[in-house]
Point group: C2
Chain length 238, copies 2
């Protein structure tokens, strides 16, 4: 936790917030802060700044907050990601958020196991919690927009073109393709398939919406390894 991320429901009055349990534990056990000491903080979807520990009573901590800096710039990359297996979804959301991605669609694919869509990890509050962890890690305050697309074809046919917006649309795909573009300022859109890859039909549908296949080495990487490697490879990180 590199930032105390203060949420609207924690606000007590104009300038005071109550830390939640996890934040309070971190402030006391990891940072060892006492009353009067400062700590980096930010308002969710707002500015960054400094908070002062105003009072510690039992395990309840009240802080004041003063904005003193702009938030870090977002990464101008939209991510279309085949729903990963539940165990890895948590880590991938934390990673994607800490890398600065602000627009994510988790989409179905032929090779996504149907059971993945039934997992409790897909509940909105759990998805949000993982993205908050990514923000705390990267000292960022702007929560990504996350969409679920449990049906591939309707999303790709009806919504993808608008959603993907301007800029190159990159499909990382094994085979004899042009190398990955490098050092893009963004905007750009990146599609990452499931383990085993998109089917030829899915690739064709994505290419019909302006995606182009690019090669990224011959190795087969796990999605959780490929995501940061691709993002670091193709984007300028702000």
């Amino acid at each position: 936790m590199n930032l105390l991320l203060l949420q609207p429901e924690q606000q007590l009055d104009e300038s005071h917030w109550r830390l939640d349990e996890r934040q309070a534990r971190h402030v006391q056990s990891v940072l060892g802060l006492t009353e009067g000491q400062p700590c980096k903080a930010g308002l969710l979807d707002g500015p960054q700044g400094t908070c002062i520990i105003e009072s510690i009573k039992n395990k309840e901590i009240t802080v004041s907050f003063k904005a003193d800096s702009q938030n870090v710039e977002p990464l101008k990359l939209s991510l279309l990601l085949a729903l990963p297996r539940p165990k890895m979804l948590k880590r991938i959301l934390i990673d994607a958020t800490s890398l600065g991605i602000k627009r994510i669609v988790l989409i179905n694919s032929w090779k996504v196991d149907k059971s993945y869509w039934q997992t409790p990890n897909l509940k909105a509050d759990l998805l949000r919690e993982k993205m908050l962890l990514g923000l705390e890690q990267a000292r960022d305050t702007q929560l990504p927009e996350l969409l679920l697309a449990p049906r591939f074809r309707p999303f790709v046919e009806d919504r993808l073109d608008h959603w993907a917006g301007d800029g190159p649309r990159i499909l990382a795909h094994p085979g004899d393709h042009a190398p990955l573009p490098r050092n893009l300022p963004g905007p750009a859109c990146l599609a990452i398939g499931p383990e085993g890859g998109w089917t030829p039909f899915e690739v064709e549908m994505l290419c019909d919406r302006g995606f182009q296949c690019h090669a990224f080495g011959r190795r087969i990487l796990r999605v959780e390894t490929a995501l940061p490697a691709l993002v670091g490879g193709m984007m300028q990180l702000p």
Copy 2:
């Protein structure tokens, strides 16, 4: 497991190998192969090829192997990594290996918790097991060389210059530095610090051995996210 990686101790005669328990389970439960069917395989530190399931008796599987292709090219990047917390070491070794890194030093740093050096995860056979998982993932057969350097200064003073070899020596470090070099063919050497970063003294010692600081965005990434992002950013992946 994208490759059955056959090890010397599994060899029965000139052309036959016995699968270990995990491989046998994978062949039966995940791949659903039966006698006579082929599967991608490779000899540890040797060529790749195809194995044929020769016999399945109870849970014991014997295969024949025929080499038919060269191994994938290694990534010409040496990694000097401050020892990560035990929980993450496993994942980082799998990732580094699957990305194709062949030379790794796990080194101490002021901010590495001393207890990390006592963890059972550092036993040679467990480290090796994680790297084998990375090889299986990426369809590679060449095991990385892994060194432990539990004392920073003696390693850096006496061995680092020789170990790091030719090519640029990159220190990813927050601050106002030149941007990360891009798309290097290698050889190159990358130093990644612990959570909280190298101390100024450590940075100075590394710079005395030819390392140069480079910036990689303003965000604070976890080591396990930073590693693939940096590798994907600075290297051409073969």
